[in-house]
Symmetry: C2
Subunit: 646 residues, 2 copies
């Protein structure tokens, strides 16, 4: 898979990001945190491949807001209380408010689009607003204030400003300098730590932690342990400075990761260049910027400021029924990310790429010797289409892959890379630690503890097998889940269940209901008590599989307003309503996890680790759907002559 | 990954297979089972790429027996009682009897090879013989009769003869014809069903089941249910014919899988040809036919009649210590395969290919925006080397991949494909079944039940972290397993352990012991009671991880003589000896499983399903070992111009 390439999908998304960049930036930023110029330089594809989106129009009901629509929403809000015009209210996020599912399902190309609406999360004098703006009529149609606990997703401004506030504090500066760190090397990183305790209720707080970038770009490996400031983001004041005393700052040597400054010999034979080639070009088409057509699949794909990548209306053509397009999944996206002891709500992609491409493997093979006089060696290629989003979220870098196979299988893979969040320590050797083990994690370099952590990503999978209604969730073959509490699933190797979403109204010729099966891959679970505050907020990670009744407002598994929320609007809360999920419109939630006890190989950067799950057709097709797909023939691959082996 | 390609590894193995073919065939075989000509035609690479092995010599202590050595063993045995010369004894298997580990570890290229020995499993008048022949002295050095219950692996002759015996039975023929099946369409398939019951003790039995190949090559989908014959392989007589009455034979329509006779339109846009290209050729070298050198890895690879593919002496070079080659794994191979309700001991590869190649992905990435005026977008390619063995074992086709990454990780993947073993039934629709469910499995086509089954493969992983001795098995960070019973591990998501093999005598600069971690992927477990006879024989699947003390005779987890064994020589038995495994020479066993409830998509052939696990360095290196590895640069990939997207 090529690195951020210049496919049209990328261009589309870069367009969106560029827009975001121009929309909300403080242009000149404090050194050590962000440079507006720096952001511009790191975003965007090669200038000659940029696409101008300024006059783009929506073509599909699910297409994201266009540049013009975003501008229009801003204009409409200028007249809306409380004071967007006066600047006392700020827009924290804006995205398409998707039309009702029934309208989207009925819509066909050529029809008028349903009304275009935007959902805006805003903040005004400490109050959260969830606002819907109707673009067709030009009016605000609803504005709900503080529907739940918590605040909207943070803006870039929030982060920048919080750091600036801390850095204006003389006491803070003194503490930094007392540690031998120059202010010009200081990186003040805002972090979210969710549950602050009663004295901080009712205020929007951020914790600012410090790192030094002296002699390295990898400041993450040079934490200034024991010093942080708590900042009120709205009053723009420092509430508290905590200085626990000096902890040695880990050295810069060995932290450099830029290839062009590496200077140690690598004892490894050269790996020759390798690429995946399609001499006749790729096999997928993208219509109107978002509709992807490949092999027997069609799906809508878009970037989203919160979800990253959303796949919608995935349908697959059935050769048994003359190519009838059949519904599989209405909407799928990573709904929430929980990295204990960090926060949910970190789905904040300020640097993301979309990429797509095809990869090749073997989908089926068989050789046969028991047939007289036959030379049977059959195989089918497995070429899959991958829609990948790569993103950097501070120290971590993630990729989210939605992989489509011609046999109807969808594989979702999350890979994590980047670098660890580490903690400084006085220790330089495990012998110094002796029996007194650091609770946070193991020593991975001198003075560096790799903090043990997990990553949980809960995916929202609105499965619509042969249609939105008439779906059920079945454990094994016969046990149909009736209500939501029946479908709070903790996976166990010793539970022999398979988990299927079926449409009992559509039966195969043999009488099996059409369905898809959820196949877990490697996984990990949260070990926090369900009552632990972070776990209450991250309650969507209590189970690996959940099934809820479709409800358009139930999208983000940690709630709409996640920041400093109390966990009153999570997937656990919705599921506990115990609604009927039999023969209905249901949504599956799958939680994928990685448990990570760091080791020295994760220093100074972490190699990619990946986990995945699959959605596989089970009695959806009448028989194996790819038996008629052509093998790859030598004559089709004339381009490169193999180099003779030595 | 290309289909059976023409790498030198393949050529080597084909050479071995061709030898096997000439060695033991009955040239003219009954129609409907095997044709000697058919076998010849399906084996072997393109004639112009064949390698002549007739004068090959061994170069490494672990190199498999050469053509000349095999001939020599046969000659030596001609004079050995009981009667190999007279034909009353038959050779069931022959392979290198590997030299003692200490000799192999000490050996260096240029030294004399340790004595070459062959281990022969033979049968003579119903007695099993485990014979060791010393090639240097030209003598039989040991012959142990019936060391345990069970018989040696079956030969092609056994299978052919058993079928012939059944087909000579008039009663049997009548039953076949009574079902409307022509004898010329009959495929008589020998199957192994392990536990026969007391009346069959002391005899070598085979069960012959019938299928019809009328109008299709996919006879597996046309079982003649309810009829089988039990045959005594040594007396060459039918013991019993079971005819439970007629069950409809599933139709031929829809079973064809050969691409060139497919006639239904496939509603799918064309997928353009795709290949993985290395314009400068592959990066691996193979020395002396078996020693693979790639990037920072060296390992010995060979085909084995029983294990399929064996990886030995895998070492990785450490750039921190000037390229010092460090031992990781002494020997790794799939030790036993258990497919309840089928037998262990089915590791009988009569059609296997070895293949190797490189594949590309991303090993690490990071983008950084918080550094002023920097444009940081770093990534490292992940090009891995895969040694793959593809094999057909009757209806199933497996691939076993050993994948090596430059960061020291080894990934083992097993993929299953081919077609299901099915059962005939009168039913054509699930409604006909009603509440009365077929215990064997679900309906996947008219009159076809897909039998529910599992596949368990236990891998033998003789980990030698920085040397053979001084290894320990650690759960989490501090709990070191002392004896074998401490290391009988049932995986559970709710057990937060990590599992490491460490060398406590080799510590990193921080004091962490050098180690490798076992990372499970998706898995499944056997649901049979531990007391169930098949589970006693397949007891190696009771746990997902085991660790035993190195013992050269403990290689095959179901025992040496698996056929009709009683489970007296399995991994469970060895592990229950509870030997000390702390700071010693230890072996890890990993059981990987797939649970398969068939569905219509598995008919008439099964798409590939795969499962894997990883062996990942943990404090083995001082820090991330690939940070100095070059990214892939555009200029290195000049060969193919991308086709412009439409």
């Amino acid at each position: 898979m090529a690195e951020p390439s210049l496919a049209r999908l990328s261009a589309l998304f870069f367009g969106f990001l560029l827009l975001l960049a121009t929309y909300s930036w403080v242009p000149r930023l404090h050194s050590g945190l962000l440079s507006g110029t720096g952001v511009q330089k790191t975003l965007g594809p090669d200038p000659k491949l940029r696409v101008d989106h300024s006059s783009a129009k929506p073509h599909h009901p699910l297409d994201p807001l266009t540049v013009q629509e975003i501008e229009r929403v801003r204009t409409i809000l200028l007249d809306h209380e409380p004071g967007f015009g006066s600047g006392s209210a700020t827009i924290h996020s804006m995205a398409l408010d998707e039309p009702d599912k029934t309208l989207v399902v009925k819509w066909k190309k050529g029809n008028r689009l349903p009304s275009r609406r935007a959902e805006v999360l805003a903040l005004s004098v400490g109050q959260s607003h969830v606002i819907v703006v109707d673009l067709d009529s030009g009016r605000v149609v609803s504005d709900v204030v503080n529907p739940t606990s918590g605040y909207p997703i943070l803006t870039m401004d929030d982060l920048i400003v919080a750091s600036q506030v801390a850095l204006k504090s003389i006491e803070f500066n003194r503490s930094v300098e007392a540690r031998g760190v120059k202010l010009s090397d200081l990186v003040a990183l805002p972090t979210f730590t969710g549950w602050f305790g009663p004295e901080e209720e009712g205020r929007r707080i951020l914790k600012v932690q410090c790192f030094t970038s002296q002699d390295t770009p990898n400041y993450f490996m040079r934490p200034i342990e024991g010093l942080y400031a708590t900042v009120d983001m709205d009053k723009l004041e420092v509430i508290k400075i905590v200085d626990k005393g000096m902890v040695p700052i880990p050295k810069a040597a060995g932290t450099e990761y830029r290839y062009n400054v590496q200077n140690k010999p690598v004892h490894m034979d050269r790996i020759n260049p390798i690429s995946i080639e399609q001499p006749e070009g790729p096999s997928f088409l993208v219509e109107d910027g978002h509709l992807v057509k490949w092999a027997n699949w069609v799906f809508h794909v878009k970037a989203d400021h919160r979800a990253g990548i959303i796949i919608s209306q995935a349908t697959v053509r059935d050769s048994e029924t003359a190519g009838e397009p059949r519904s599989v999944m209405y909407k799928g996206f990573p709904s929430e990310l929980f990295v204990p002891y960090m926060d949910p709500g970190e789905l904040w992609y300020y640097k993301s790429y979309l990429d797509a491409g095809e990869i090749g493997d073997v989908s089926w093979r068989h050789s046969e010797i028991l047939i007289p006089n036959a030379d049977i060696r059959e195989s089918r290629p497995k070429v899959t289409l991958v829609a990948r989003m790569a993103t950097s979220v501070g120290n971590y870098d993630y990729t989210f892959d939605w992989e489509f196979q011609t046999d109807g299988l969808i594989r979702v893979t999350v890979a994590a890379s980047g670098m660890l969040m580490v903690k400084g320590t006085p220790y330089e050797n495990v012998d110094d630690l002796g029996d007194k083990e650091d609770d946070s994690g193991p020593l991975i370099s001198e003075n560096v503890i790799g903090v043990v952590h997990d990553h949980f990503i809960t995916f929202h999978l609105d499965m619509d097998i042969d249609g939105p209604m008439n779906n059920s969730f079945v454990k094994v073959k016969k046990y149909v889940a009736k209500t939501e509490k029946d479908a709070q699933i903790k996976l166990s190797l010793y539970d022999p269940y398979e988990f299927h979403i079926v449409n009992p109204n559509r039966k195969s010729r043999l009488g099996n209901p059409a369905g898809y099966r959820i196949i877990p891959g490697g996984n990990a679970v949260s070990l926090l008590d369900h009552d632990d505050p972070p776990q209450i907020r991250g309650a969507f990670s209590n189970n690996q599989i959940w099934v809820t009744r479709y409800n358009r407002s139930e999208q983000f598994a940690g709630g709409v307003l996640v920041y400093q929320s109390h966990g009153d609007d999570t997937l656990q809360v919705w599921s506990d309503r115990d609604r009927s999920i039999e023969n209905n419109d249901i949504v599956v939630w799958y939680t994928l996890g990685f448990h990570h006890i760091p080791c020295q190989e994760d220093y100074p950067v972490m190699p990619t680790v990946a986990a995945s799950f699959e959605l596989k057709p089970a009695n959806f097709f009448e028989s194996n759907p790819v038996i008629g797909v052509a093998p790859i023939f030598e004559k089709d691959l004339p381009v490169c002559r193999p180099f003779a082996s030595s």
